[in-house]
């Protein structure tokens, strides 16, 4: 029974794992931050201003359709962030890189906010479109379930004191949760289709939107991705610092004992 947790042998992906060293991560992310900030501000300002003020009003929906520029990117990010958390969790479980676990933790809050934004903008948009703020449409329902997954994940992080135990357990939850999230998506589709035949309420953005609306939307999508990367970097840096404080405190306590 030998357990030694040393750094893995050098391999050709080493340049990537270098990032996972907290010290290295801090210096790299500090250098990247101004650039990411700039990209975020430029794309979001251009995309949103273009989308809100320089697109024609849609014949049927009026200006309410413009909420698409917040709704679609946030919805997309809500799902992608969960996928990113899953990947980060797997990396933590396999390679035990602390930054990976902390990045997953940092991403969760951004993810839950994106989910809430998607739900709220969806409700606001739904009122003029479908005449109701909430319908148990498969997509809306899936997002509600996703919201619950985010809440559970964050609550588990918050409940466990030891940071490495928390990282391990939340990673296991992320993996199992992903499987059940996929199942839920399928189940919800099936369930609603079972209630009212056909006629989905959801509007499929990509199919029905013409180029005039599409171009600013793409910029908004890029902007939201950049915004996520920005928030992720800032929050991960905070988590790394918190861990450093925690480590120092533990060392203090041990030397007092």
């Amino acid at each position: 029974m030998t357990t030694t947790r040393t750094k893995q042998a050098n391999d050709r992906w080493n340049w990537l794992w270098e990032w996972a060293n907290p010290v290295k991560f801090m210096s790299l992310s500090a250098r990247a931050l101004p650039w990411v900030t700039a990209i975020t501000v430029v794309t979001l300002v251009v995309g949103l201003v273009w989308g809100f003020f320089f697109t024609p009003e849609a014949a049927k929906f009026g200006s309410s359709v413009k909420i698409i520029y917040v709704h679609v990117p946030s919805a997309m990010m809500a799902i992608n962030i969960w996928v990113m958390m899953l990947v980060a969790s797997l990396i933590w479980l396999v390679r035990r890189h602390h930054v990976s676990a902390l990045a997953a933790k940092a991403a969760a809050l951004v993810g839950v906010v994106m989910t809430v934004i998607a739900l709220i903008t969806g409700a606001i948009w739904g009122e003029p479109m479908w005449g109701t703020y909430w319908a148990w449409d498969p997509r809306l329902t899936s997002f509600l379930v996703l919201f619950l997954f985010y809440l559970g994940y964050m609550a588990l992080w918050a409940a466990i004191e030891d940071p490495d135990t928390a990282a391990d357990l939340t990673s296991v939850l992320a993996i199992v949760g992903s499987v059940f999230a996929l199942l839920s998506r399928y189940a919800v589709n099936f369930w609603n289709q079972g209630l009212h035949q056909g006629a989905s309420l959801s509007l499929d953005a990509e199919e029905n939107v013409s180029d005039v609306y599409w171009q600013p939307l793409v910029i908004c999508l890029v902007g939201f991705v950049a915004l996520f990367v920005l928030l992720l970097l800032v929050r991960t840096r905070t988590e790394v610092r918190k861990r450093r404080v925690h480590a120092l405190e533990m060392r203090e306590r041990m030397s007092d004992a």
């Binding site: 602390h98 480590a247 030397s255």
Partner: protein, 207 residues
């Protein structure tokens, strides 16, 4: 059959508590662990029992040889003495509990629910569990807590018989059991919190 430990570092909550520990325990030997409260004796025993991974170093022992006796006895208050013991005997695939009951002086209590036992009687039942495991190496964490003098003598006799039978015991305790035992004081192995960390220690990267 031998438990051998080399260069072992054990950690509690990610912080090393004992470092560079090395000893060996052969059949027929008793090793008593000494050290102040919080010095890492329990952590060491839990690591040896396989409940937590060591941070560094090597533990070599034959498989399926360890019986771990923790602070808590793992008794179910709603079950009788016999039922509690029988459960562990079945889990370890032995099945005979009469010898253990009589050696721990529990025969007259055998049908009493564990809820109605005194603290010392519970402890004796907890120790009787070791006898039914049939495992040669006992790892005991403060086994004599809440035992009276007579019961401590009873327990010491058990350990003596176990060792004479080719077993071995690693006991963390503060009292003198009157056993022929080597004594290992863990104090010199206490991890220096300000020292450079071993490679891969949890928080090393953050300091």
């Amino acid at each position: 059959m031998e438990l051998r430990v080399e260069g072992l570092t054990v950690a509690r909550g990610g912080v090393p508590v004992l470092e560079g520990l090395g000893f060996s325990l052969k059949a027929g030997e008793v090793l008593v662990l000494r050290g102040p409260n919080g010095s890492g004796k329990t952590t060491l025993l839990r690591t040896l029992a396989g409940l937590q991974p060591p941070q560094a170093g090597e533990i070599s022992l034959p498989p399926e040889t360890i019986a771990y006796g923790a602070h808590a006895d793992g008794l179910k208050a709603q079950l009788t003495v016999t039922e509690n013991l029988m459960f562990w005997a079945r889990v370890y695939g032995t099945g005979d509990i009469d010898a253990a009951l009589s050696r721990m002086n529990l025969v007259s209590l055998r049908d009493r629910p564990a809820a109605n036992l005194s603290a010392g009687q519970k402890r004796r039942l907890g120790l009787a569990r070791l006898l039914v495991t049939g495992r040669p190496i006992w790892l005991l964490d403060e086994p004599t807590v809440s035992l009276d003098t007579a019961s401590v003598g009873l327990f010491a006799d058990c350990v003596r018989a176990h060792v004479a039978d080719g077993g071995a015991a690693l006991i963390a305790t503060h009292i003198d059991l009157g056993l022929e035992a080597e004594i290992l004081d863990v104090t010199p192995f206490r991890a220096d919190p300000d020292a450079a960390r071993v490679q891969g220690a949890f928080d090393e990267a953050f300091l």
